[in-house]
Symmetry: none
Subunit: 251 residues, 2 copies
């Protein structure tokens, strides 16, 4: 057993389980305690893991990057609650679509990393974060919109139509009993609509500020998708529950 082989083995195991025990490695790699200790010490100096009593754990630098990007976003707390709830709906083997936008960005950090999931997205930031977390990610191709860094256009829609999703998680700007789900840009609306059509269980992520608002382009009717929200008032909750499922995230 060569040194590099052991190192690969350790790092791979760490990637999967998040933590490794020294004694386990001694058995599995069939070598002495000293050798494993030396390996762990070396890999720590390389910045590839963090040693802990009895073994080593994987380190996350990604979380630090997250906090930087989160600034300049309104209703952060509600969005985090929504993100956590949305992520909890994702199960093993799922193939999901995640829309561009700040609200959907929040859910990514809570995704079940250990499970085998595939994510398709049209958001640049979403895609970057997802791969950083080691999740299998597909980015939809097409024209890149300057302001929102979302991919839109006919090519994007065509590509989305070639997939089938278990669930999709979409951002939205306006929710209204009469006009349904609406957003300012017709092209973004078209992309959302396409993703929704390909999904067995579509969800809209929206904090309380999005209710009773109407925007230019309609995505779909209220009863076409469920709503995941937080901080909603009693009046709106009872009103919108008549039309569709409203999942409310709590502390």
């Amino acid at each position: 057993m060569l040194t590099a082989e052991r190192h690969d083995y350790i790092l791979n195991k760490l990637r999967e389980t998040g933590i490794v025990r020294l004694q386990e490695l001694v058995n599995e790699l069939n070598c002495s305690e000293s050798t494993i200790r030396r390996d762990l010490t070396y890999l720590e100096t390389k910045g590839l893991l963090k040693r802990i009593h009895g073994g080593a754990k994987r380190l996350y630098t990604v979380e630090e990057e997250l906090t930087i990007k989160q600034k300049s976003v309104k209703n952060v707390h509600e969005k985090q609650l929504i993100g956590k709830l949305a992520a909890s709906l994702v199960t093993d083997q799922d193939v999901i679509f995640i829309d561009a936008g700040t609200t959907t960005l929040e859910m990514i950090q809570y995704l079940p990393m250990k499970k085998d999931i595939t994510v398709v997205t049209n958001g640049i930031h979403q895609a970057t974060l997802l791969t950083d977390l080691g999740i299998r990610t597909y980015l939809v191709g097409g024209r890149l919109k300057n302001t929102t860094k979302a991919i839109i256009g006919a090519s994007a829609i065509a590509q989305i139509r070639s997939y089938q999703f278990n669930k999709c998680f979409l951002g939205i700007n306006g929710i209204d009993t009469e006009f349904g789900f609406t957003t300012p840009d017709p092209e973004e609306a078209a992309v959302k609509h396409a993703a929704l059509r390909q999904s067995a269980h579509p969800f809209f992520l929206a904090d309380y500020s999005k209710f009773e608002k109407v925007n230019f382009a309609k995505v779909c009717d209220l009863d076409d998708a469920a709503i995941i929200t937080a901080g909603i008032n009693e009046k709106n909750r009872s009103r919108y529950q008549k039309f569709t499922t409203v999942l409310e995230a709590k502390e």
Copy 2:
């Protein structure tokens, strides 16, 4: 057993198993330890493998460990010169492809912004920067590679095939008179090849450190594309000018 035969055997075995033991090779190739050592040393100087204690391993995994941020510090000055020259080749109404990678990233800031150009890219960073500069940008869709933030895979290639480019600007890891243009990841090589096929005028951007290097996956032969470089020495310039156009960027 000829030298070239042994080299092929070693590289093939390395391709399959990712790691080779020196003693194994001695038995399998039926020659002395010294000979194998010599082979391994030579192949390492050619950049085809990484020697380790007791044998050798694939270079491919090592390259992955280098993040894009670590790479971008090397040869910055040369890359800027190259970028400036490359950008000066772009003219009004051009539809161009820009590859992922740090070298191509440098050329974007010099692009003629006032002119009407369209850019297609498979690099996340490239796409972000291009839209920030107000350039009409299309991002190719497909699987997102974690380490280089490049989009690869069959879907990306299919999409590239549906376009026609006036010019394409590709990054590259190895340039060699015998093996042509090479890069570590076969999937990235396939994307580069596809873009090159759709381009009237393909260019490779490479600083001096890329010459006389060979990587795992071949993109094309030397005479299939022009080279834009900087800081190249006299010997390499005269050698490579025999095979293809070499544009050298100066202060």
